[in-house]
């Protein structure tokens, strides 16, 4: 598999580390235990297109959001994952 890093270009799979589903957002400090439990443990088992977090540890050390079809391994989009796991992106 090859991933086109938006910063480094097309690179081989060995440079990347897989984390998992990029959809969950970390609950805010006042969230209930159930909400955090859901965030930590409950995942969809997607057969098809899903967004995933990949780490380009062998390159620019950017966390990426990769849109990948789990059935065909086709990658349709790669973008920086900046803030995608945050409930509120605001200062």
């Amino acid at each position: 598999m090859r991933i086109v890093c938006p910063f480094c270009g097309e690179r081989e799979l060995g440079e990347f580390t897989y984390l998992g589903d990029a959809k969950p957002q970390r609950p805010t400090a006042d969230a209930s235990e159930d909400a955090v439990y859901d965030y930590v443990y409950l995942r969809d088992n997607v057969a098809g297109v899903m967004s995933e977090n990949w780490y380009h540890g062998g390159g620019c050390r950017t966390w990426l959001k990769v849109t990948r079809n789990t059935l065909t391994h086709e990658i349709s989009a790669v973008e920086p994952a900046a803030g995608t796991g945050a409930r509120q992106v605001a200062k």
Partner: protein, 991 residues
């Protein structure tokens, strides 16, 4: 020296280069350009091996990598390689090969008695015969079956050769150099594409080498050399012979194995034996051709029965006659080419047995000219055995029988396109009735099949499809040069009437390598194994080293017939790479022995080696474990000395392996507050603090000290083991979770050499190193202080007053390039003080004496409270793991927590891993209350001590419990105690 079956002329062998070789100890000769198989054919050798289960005599069936029978042990000693196909092994002078599966000799094989017990070797016999009792399997059945159902012997010695791994990139990758592959290369190359063409054989040309033809008005061999010349002149076209494309992976990545030096006795110095290629290609043209398939009949495994196309290859390419009087059994027009080849070489045709109702007038006149009969019907049996084909029984259309005397039988049951590469992404090929074969139905992205691999069997069609595919592939890859004119040839007739199996008495083999017979297929069907996937597993059809290249399609066609379904309804099994066996050594490449993984050396490594340090592998690192001195009888004596020297004077230890991360930015403190359970934003500049990180699920992740060197600059350390992972985790927190924080992370693990200097005389030693203007007193540099200091001589270092040993201690940090000099300077400056370098063992002993947690306690199952650090958890802020750490089970009062242990018999040694059981109870899972995590001999207490995770351990201080160690067979009592064994009030480190 006589090559009895070598034709007097023809072939592409080099008759001026005679090569001697040995097969089963007998000497033979062949020529450069021969394979082992063609040389054996040229020497009239028909019997080359015994079969897997029944030890039946077997000969050479094919002339390529699909060969099921002619497997040999090639070479000897450490290079001995079993299951090598004689049909692809190139002949070299001095080659040694031995047949397999025979004892004591190929001609007299004791195990052929298995044939008499054939009923027990039928499909599924493993499952049926050896089901009970289970323990008999390993001890009795399996070794006996292995001996009887032989495989070749591996060398059992380390492989002396080197293997390489390499990457290549191109626009157009082409598999196969037959007419389709060459035409594709011409079109792609002319349009300016970067082309790599992989050819399994040592000579390019594919079937052109055996079947000739006329292309662009030229004899095929002339067109071939003209084409190779044109391709060689293109700088961006690379033809890789002896290279098999074996797999296709995601993103246009392909695997290929190049046999760089398999064709010589041993690789020349500094050269590799094989090279594993990973090729990244924008487009791939599969021109891998097709494999001729057998027809199954009784005795079809007799030596001398050979694929018709293989026979043409031996005669035309190698000028070697597989037989002198040859019969042909065909169900199609293509098989008849063999007649022309055989007659052209001056050999006799005994008869043609054609399963079709009609034969063309041209063939009829060929028959009368050649003086051989054309029989309509099918071969129903072969007389021969180990000396090879003698007599062939024919059941004629209409019911009569006939016999044909011959010493060779060519068979042609049609052609199977090589659909492996196009199907490796779970693609299922589709059935085409007109050619009675499976062809690719789509392909992985970027790939297309052309020529015979796509079911186009004529020479003209191969050239056309190949050329068009090459042009399209180049265009798709963005190359737009002119492709020039397409090579043109006529298409031969391909008229086929399906015939898979001729039922009659006697064993008829579908899969010759795994000895699967026609009756096995029928039996499997009767017993309910009707899916092809079940057929495969139950009979093991297609599961041998040849992966059923000559048997899979035939097997499923027979399955379709007995189950009354059509072939497409029956379907194929899933195709999986590799297309040919690939040695594990090639996948490993240079990553073996010392080079198995990278090795990281600490900055003081060379100095430590000079000191005679014993090194230990910790992850990729080599760390000094202890520094033995003359006269010390074991490690324990050395380690005990090092600990006493530190506690009584001063010592130092290289701790550079700890992960180090610079945290910069106005929000650095706020960021650390979110990743640690304790608070760092309120840490004063110039101070260090111990920190603990959790995973989001509430379990402890890592620990270490973090210092604040400036308002917006923290210096964070991690454990050695988690250095890389913590960096990745912190980057995730920074980028994905908390993008609003203005903070930057930089890994500086390799930039700093860091030494722990510990012991009551630490300041005395530092005074010799640090500039006198620096105040190292308790007031000037208090416990947990951290700041840059000037060294004598002008260098700057960082100094941290932190202690893992419990002694008065500092850690000094200098740029990594000065690490070795620092170690040498500490030794020189500390000589009057008796400074002692200490290793990781002494470090570990001192941390256990102080009850500090380390790897064994940070086990991925412990909470902060389990480790006695629950109070560090801030209640005033959110941090990673905060909510989940509060779950019921993680705060339950009966959790196993860290506690100290001491044996009641103070002379006893402790061992990690022992289970803790309440005293007086019989050990078992119901009363298992924890286990011993860390142990050491404490020089200070002069006895063994340890740390353990024990249920409610901290409430049970003083209780005697039982340590149960079933692995070492040890049982003894220990007392639960305070984990801080030495200097519990911490006076020494503050002193």
């Amino acid at each position: 020296m006589s090559q009895s079956h070598r034709l007097t002329s023809g072939g592409t062998i080099d008759r001026s280069a005679s090569l001697n070789f040995r097969f089963d100890g007998k000497s033979f000769s062949g020529f450069k350009g021969d394979t082992l198989a063609s040389a054996l054919v040229a020497n009239g050798v028909k019997l080359v091996g015994r079969s897997f289960k029944y030890h039946r005599p077997r000969g050479i069936l094919t002339a390529g990598s699909e060969e099921p029978n002619a497997l040999v042990e090639l070479r000897s000693g450490a290079r001995r390689e079993p299951n090598t196909k004689a049909t692809t092994a190139e002949l070299y002078d001095g080659l040694e090969a031995a047949s397999q599966n025979r004892w004591p000799s190929l001609n007299f094989d004791v195990m052929s008695i298995n044939q008499l017990f054939a009923p027990i070797f039928v499909a599924g016999f493993y499952y049926k015969t050896f089901m009970w009792p289970a323990k008999f399997w390993e001890a009795i059945y399996e070794p006996a079956i292995r001996r009887a159902a032989g495989l070749g012997r591996a060398a059992n010695i380390a492989d002396p050769d080197h293997y390489d791994k390499a990457w290549a990139h191109c626009d157009v990758l082409i598999a196969g150099s037959g007419p389709a592959g060459l035409a594709a290369a011409l079109a792609a190359g002319r349009s300016g594409a970067r082309v790599i063409l992989c050819e399994e054989d040592f000579a390019p040309g594919g079937r052109l080498l055996a079947d000739g033809g006329t292309i662009d008005g030229l004899p095929a061999t002339e067109w071939l050399s003209r084409t190779l010349t044109e391709l060689a002149a293109m700088p961006d076209v690379r033809i890789m012979t002896r290279t098999t494309l074996f797999g296709v992976y995601d993103g246009g990545t392909y695997g290929a194995i190049e046999r760089v030096n398999d064709h010589v006795p041993s690789p020349p110095e500094h050269e590799v034996r094989q090279r594993l290629w990973r090729i990244v290609a924008k487009r791939c043209v599969v021109a891998a051709g097709a494999l001729e398939r057998p027809i199954v009949f009784a005795g079809n495994d007799t030596p001398g029965v050979m694929m018709a196309s293989a026979m043409r290859t031996y005669v035309t390419r190698y000028a070697a006659a597989p037989a002198r009087r040859i019969a042909l059994f065909t169900n199609n027009e293509d098989g008849w080419r063999t007649v022309e080849t055989v007659l052209g070489a001056g050999l006799q045709v005994a008869a043609v047995i054609d399963a079709r109702a009609e034969v063309s007038p041209a063939h009829r006149s060929l028959a009368s000219k050649g003086g051989f009969p054309v029989l309509h019907g099918a071969v129903s049996g072969v007389d021969g055995g180990k000396t090879g084909v003698r007599k062939i029984s024919v059941s004629l259309t209409g019911g009569a029988r006939a016999e044909v005397e011959a010493d060779g039988l060519a068979i042609s049951g049609g052609w199977n396109p090589t659909v492996g590469l196009t199907s490796y992404h779970r693609g299922r090929p589709k059935w085409r009735d007109d050619i009675a074969a499976f062809v690719p139905d789509g392909a992985p992205p970027g790939m297309m099949a052309a020529g015979a691999a796509n079911g186009a069997f004529g020479l003209g069609a191969c050239l056309r499809e190949g050329f068009e595919a090459g042009a399209a592939a180049a265009r798709d890859a963005g190359r737009s040069g002119s492709v020039g004119s397409m090579p043109v040839a006529d298409d031969e007739a391909f008229a086929l009437t399906s015939l898979w199996y001729v039922a009659d008495k006697g064993k008829a083999f579908v899969d010759q390598q795994h000895d699967v017979t026609a009756s096995d297929v029928e039996l499997a069907q009767r017993e309910g194994f009707q899916s092809v996937e079940h057929l495969k597993r139950y009979t093991t059809l297609g599961m041998a080293t040849d992966q059923g290249k000559t048997s899979n399609v035939t097997g499923l066609a027979m399955m379709a017939a007995v189950s009354g379904r059509s072939i497409p309804e029956t379907g194929t099994t899933i195709y999986r790479p590799p297309y040919v066996p690939v040695a594990i050594g090639a996948f490993a490449g240079h990553h073996r022995d010392e080079a198995f993984h990278a090795t990281r050396l600490t900055p003081s490594h060379h100095w430590a080696a000079e000191q005679g340090a014993v090194f230990v592998d910790t992850g990729l690192w080599k760390r000094a474990q202890w520094y033995p001195r003359a006269g010390e009888k074991d490690w324990l004596e050395s380690v005990t000395r090092e600990v006493r020297a530190v506690r009584g004077g001063v010592g130092f230890c290289d701790v550079s392996t700890l992960g180090k991360i610079d945290v910069h930015g106005p929000d650095a403190g706020a960021f650390l507050d979110r990743v640690y359970i304790n608070t760092f934003s309120n840490l004063a500049v110039g101070k260090a603090r111990y920190g603990l990180m959790l995973r989001e699920d509430g379990i402890v992740y890592d620990d270490g000290t973090t210092s604040r060197l400036a308002e917006d600059h923290y210096f964070l350390t991690t454990t050695t083991a988690k250095a890389g992972l913590v960096m990745q985790h912190l980057e995730f927190c920074r980028q994905v979770l908390f993008p609003e924080l203005d903070v930057q992370l930089t890994s500086v693990s390799d930039q700093w050499a860091q030494f722990s200097i510990a012991g009551p005389k630490t300041r005395d030693l530092l005074k010799e190193i640090v500039d006198p203007s620096e105040d190292l007193s308790n007031e000037g540099f208090p416990f947990m202080g951290a700041r840059a200091v000037k060294l004598r001589g002008g260098f700057t270092a960082r100094l941290f007053r932190i202690s893992f040993s419990g002694e008065m201690a500092f850690e000094i940090s200098v740029p990594a390039r000065h690490g070795e000099a620092m170690a040498r300077n500490l030794m020189i400056a500390g000589k009057p003080l008796g400074v002692t370098p200490y290793g990781t063992e002494a470090l570990g002993v001192m941390r256990i004496e102080k009850g500090h947690i380390a790897g064994p306690e940070l086990s991925g199952t412990t909470t902060a409270a389990d480790l006695g650090l629950g109070k560090m958890m801030s209640t005033k802020k959110d941090f990673i793991g905060r909510v989940m750490a509060g779950r019921e089970a993680l705060v339950a009062p009966d959790r196993q927590v860290v506690v100290g242990i001491k044996p009641t018999d103070t002379s006893r040694r402790l061992r990690s891993g022992a289970h803790i059981i309440p005293k007086g109870e019989i050990p078992g899972p119901d009363n298992d209350q924890g286990y011993v995590t860390s142990v050491c001999f404490s020089p200070m207490l002069e006895q063994w001590i340890g740390l353990a995770l024990v249920e409610r351990g901290r409430e049970r201080i003083g209780e005697i419990v039982h340590a149960h160690d079933p692995i070492r067979g040890e049982d003894y009592d220990v007392e639960l105690c305070n984990p801080v064994f030495y200097d519990p009030d911490g006076g020494r480190q503050r002193g």
